[in-house]
Symmetry: C2
Subunit: 454 residues, 2 copies
């Protein structure tokens, strides 16, 4: 039989075991964080009927989607977790209690042009709160707290959550008489960080045809910087000229007001009037996140408030607010930057149990006792030389080796070898389990990411 | 805009939140069990190139597979986790240390005829140990221990792991001169439990054309029952007539020998000479599992030893042994049988925090303190009547409600209401976190499944 050269499709991440452990640790940290805030887990099919997924005739989405037929069925792979959520909420409306809070961490599919660091299959880690008819602004205020705790639980430290409000922006452009072009203006303004305010002004003037006064007003507005209190103060200067603006400002103030009580330090939060998020369905608060030392990642966690989640499937008004972490790309970039935490345990086991006697029973019993004690143990019994057995532990990064020869057996003990120091001690199985647990406590608790000191 | 009726494809499981919590708890129990035995997590793409997945021109597989083109690529969705493992091991051979032990819990796809309780998208939870050139039989002996711990961790009690050995079977049929028909005979004998030994005999005689003596010998062999020791004793009576048989018997004895040291009670393990597993690639030990009270589930966990995992991708000889749990179907049937544990916590949070003052800061701070204390807390602030707020907690099964009115605030405390007893007590935030943790300890530790006493 000719041999088929094995390969993995480009754009599909497939990790080696030690990195997979860290990826899974990130997923687990996010699950725990989301659960702390009262979100239920959700899992929806990867495949949906095409007429369900392709809710909008968005050209870009249509091109990227994996769509195919099976028998008579026109099927598509989900390209995000939001559309399946909308379907879920509409479909199971009567069985859900609102506000419905769910998290979902799963793979989504986009047939993008293959490109380094861009993935066609990638994980999103989403949370959303969906109200029935209405949804209190306190939910918007809680999101930065969740982002903050999620990111710190991963081990990230130097990041800022940036917040803005679309009502405020729309209201501001309405003040200038340009609300009919608000979308176009936002797309230009969104680039302020990259191209600078001057160039933003020129583009608004030449390409969008705004008058000089409006351009000046917009530049002035965009130049509002400072602490959150200073920015809010400056925004108060615009109050009373447009209802939407005033409402947006109130919402923004509420979001800022409880930050400290939510445990978010001021250092990790900033009002940023330039962000708008491209997606048309955001209608109020919008969020972006920036890693201070790795701006090239873009925004690894974004989201916002939307007025009506599931209009395509139901006439119920279901407003919501949510955020999404692009986990695969985040992991990829952090790994590229060498930020995976070398202290985190990534070995398949904490102890490698090596039987050294013909009767394997004592070694098997030892491995069983270690596991009962909550220690992960790998029983190794292959016909190899002793040195090769140790090098198996070394290669996998297994921190301890338990040796069970006749001498140890006679004493009812095990020789526990610390692979990093080379030290060896005689312990009972229970003592060994306790010792390993104690010795590895810090590494067990290590976060998957470790930012380097600047 | 006309409304698109929401639907989920038939054959695709989509759970309500409380059941999803239990499903996820099962996944988590399996992850922990697999990790205890030294298995690394693995995640491979759901989509692979078709030429990679369709390794054998198996008609059944071809028909069921989800296969499609995207641009120039001929793609398929994985239909199990074994073929992707074979690809992975061949592709990353130089980066892996052998034996390579991995677990993978993920979705697979088979376009089966839609049928109640049959799924087209379902989770498999697999472990495999892959050797390089050789793999010690001790790995086969460990599998029943992993199945036993995995099942008990889920909450299952009344089950039996059934084990056999293909070498033993092949050797036995060779003794009779029927090794060239061994596969056909096994397929008939496999039905012994259903149709009885007499009918097995008639089928072997009439349909397969075996002589009367051979049929008698096979019936006698299949009738070997008793304790493991008794069965092994009876099998010893056949020793010395065929090399493969003797080797299979030695392997089977080794698998049985360390059961007690592996922590597997004799009551949960049985040698069963009738099982053979349909898949052709098993070459030694084979495993099946039977839930005593729910035989209609079939075997929720099966597996075995194979000589050569990745022959399609590499000329390296990579023997392995593994098991697979069909998690979606298992969950579905256990749920149908009413075996989901009602004591397990399935609410989105342990405490519902209800602000009762205009300034939300104290309630936000309370929720933050509870979360710091490891308690899941849902902050609820919608414009509803008090009774409706409590019924939100009730409907979601949230066990505690924390009320924060002016009175409580004045005392620096919170009124913690136990929703099941209706009792209410005044506590500080720290006391409340500790109380909730203590009160819910048993429910937090509850296993997802609870078998009913027979």
């Amino acid at each position: 039989m000719p041999i088929q050269k094995p390969r993995t499709l480009s754009g599909f991440m497939e990790l080696l075991p030690q990195k997979q452990v860290l990826f899974d640790a990130m997923v687990e940290k996010l699950r725990r964080t989301y659960a702390l805030y009262g979100f239920s887990p959700l899992d929806t099919p990867v495949i949906e009927a095409s007429e369900i997924l392709l809710t909008k005739s968005g050209g870009e989405t249509e091109k990227q989607i994996y769509r195919f037929t099976k028998g008579d069925s026109d099927l598509s792979l989900r390209f995000d977790l939001t559309v399946p959520l909308a379907k879920y909420v509409a479909l199971h409306y009567n069985d859900l209690a609102f506000p419905f809070r769910r998290f979902q961490i799963g793979k989504v599919y986009r047939g993008e042009r293959a490109q380094r660091g861009r993935f066609r299959e990638f994980y999103q880690a989403d949370i959303d709160v969906i109200g029935d008819g209405a949804l209190d602004i306190l939910n918007d205020a809680e999101m930065p707290a969740i982002i903050y705790r999620a990111f710190t639980s991963l081990g990230l430290e130097r990041f800022v959550i940036r917040v803005n409000n679309r009502k405020l922006l729309n209201g501001f452009y309405a003040m200038l008489g340009w609300d009919h072009r608000a979308g176009d203006i936002m797309r230009v303004v969104d680039k302020a960080e990259k191209i600078g305010l001057e160039k933003v002004g020129l583009t608004l003037y030449h390409d969008l045809g705004l008058d000089e006064d409006s351009v000046g007003e917009i530049q002035e507005f965009m130049a509002i910087k400072g602490t959150n209190a200073q920015v809010l103060d400056a925004l108060e200067g615009y109050r009373g000229r447009n209802e939407a603006f005033d409402q947006g400002l109130d919402e923004l103030k509420t979001v800022c007001r409880y930050l400290a009580d939510f445990g978010v330090p001021e250092s990790h939060f900033a009002i940023d009037l330039s962000i708008a998020r491209g997606l048309d369905y955001y209608t109020g608060t919008v969020y972006e996140t920036r890693l201070l030392d790795y701006p090239e990642i873009g925004s690894p966690c974004s989201g916002g408030r939307y007025d009506n989640l599931a209009a395509y499937y139901t006439d119920k008004q279901l407003p919501g607010v949510g955020i999404s972490i692009g986990l695969t790309r985040l992991f990829y970039v952090l790994d590229e930057q060498g930020l995976l935490n070398p202290d985190a345990l990534t070995a398949p086991a904490e102890v490698l149990v090596l039987p050294m006697t013909e009767d394997l029973a004592p070694a098997v019993a030892l491995a069983t006792a270690l596991r009962e004690g909550g220690v992960t143990a790998l029983l190794y019994h292959e016909g190899k030389k002793f040195k090769q057995k140790l090098s198996y532990a070394d290669r996998l990064g297994i921190p301890f080796v338990a040796l069970l020869g006749e001498d140890e057996l006679a004493q009812g003990k095990v020789a526990l070898k610390d692979m990093s120091s080379g030290e060896q001690q005689l312990l009972t199985a229970q003592e060994a389990a306790a010792y390993v647990t104690q010795a590895l406590a810090a590494r067990r608790a290590a976060r998957p990411i470790q930012e380097k000191p600047q």
